[in-house]
């Protein structure tokens, strides 16, 4: 990751201070109903998991691993893998951003990628878009922004389908 970039290593305290500031804004704004994310520890890092219930029955499932780069109470951490899955409860997935999967598989497994579905059109297969560069790899806050934009763009359709 480029030094000084949005995905650069950060001290764990700073990292979650930024996270909480942004999440507080999303909750105040009303799109995210509650921040239920939790941290737990692995021998080599921190796992952040949980679900963010949002307006319109949307939910964002968050799975993220931060690798611990040094010791102490305020270690330097950096995101090494993530999966942000945005779905409409009871309907299907809208989109999902995944970090590269370190396994053999389709070509996109080696790249940061996004699965996109026409969920309100009944699409369950979806298509995959490669995230073109490091700057385009989203932060969780940017994923929430994208989910919110999708919600407002599709609000009428959600309403017609009785999902609001």
């Amino acid at each position: 990751m480029a030094p000084g970039g949005k995905h650069s290593p950060n001290r764990v305290g700073n990292y979650f201070e930024i996270h909480n500031t942004r999440m507080h804004q999303h909750v105040l704004e009303g799109f995210v109903r509650e921040d239920t994310l939790e941290l737990s520890t692995l021998p080599d890092g921190i796992l952040m998991t949980g679900e963010l219930p949002c307006l319109g029955g949307l939910r964002i499932e968050v799975r993220k691993k931060l690798k611990r780069l040094d010791g102490g109470a305020e270690p330097l951490v950096r995101t090494v893998s993530y999966s942000y899955n945005v779905s409409v409860a009871g309907v299907g997935v809208v989109f999902r951003y995944d970090s590269p999967h370190p396994f053999d598989g389709p070509d996109y497994h080696g790249d940061h990628h996004k699965h996109v579905y026409d969920v309100l059109g009944g699409d369950r297969e979806g298509r995959v878009e490669i995230v073109p560069n490091e700057e385009a790899i989203p932060t969780l806050s940017e994923v929430i922004d994208e989910a919110r934009e999708w919600y407002y763009a599709n609000r009428n359709k959600l309403d017609e389908l009785g999902l609001l």
């Binding site: 305290g13 994310l37 737990s40 921190i46």
Partner: protein, 88 residues
């Protein structure tokens, strides 16, 4: 310490927050990290539900015989999150 709500950190002073991280990051008694145990349990539950081992899942994905659904993606995430590398 098993888990810490991220939102709760916002209500703490800098010192309290630092203490929380010290507790969170301290090696657990017995050396078993709850998150690691929880991940292994999640992986076991997928293997039972899909009636295949994780190795079989990876083979099927590599062969294009299985679609990467949201749940499969979750399975892959947890496999790659285990500290000793990508596979159990």
């Amino acid at each position: 310490m098993s888990a810490l709500r991220v939102a709760d950190l916002a209500n703490l002073t800098e010192r309290e927050r630092r203490d929380q991280f010290l507790k969170l990051l301290a090696p657990p008694p017995g050396g078993v990290y709850p998150a690691e145990e929880s991940i292994r349990n999640r992986i076991r539950s997928y293997e039972i539900r899909y009636e295949m081992t994780s190795a079989e899942l990876l083979s099927k994905l590599a062969a294009g015989e299985m679609r990467e659904t949201a749940e499969v993606s979750e399975w892959l995430f947890f496999l790659s999150s285990l500290p000793n590398g990508a596979r159990r």
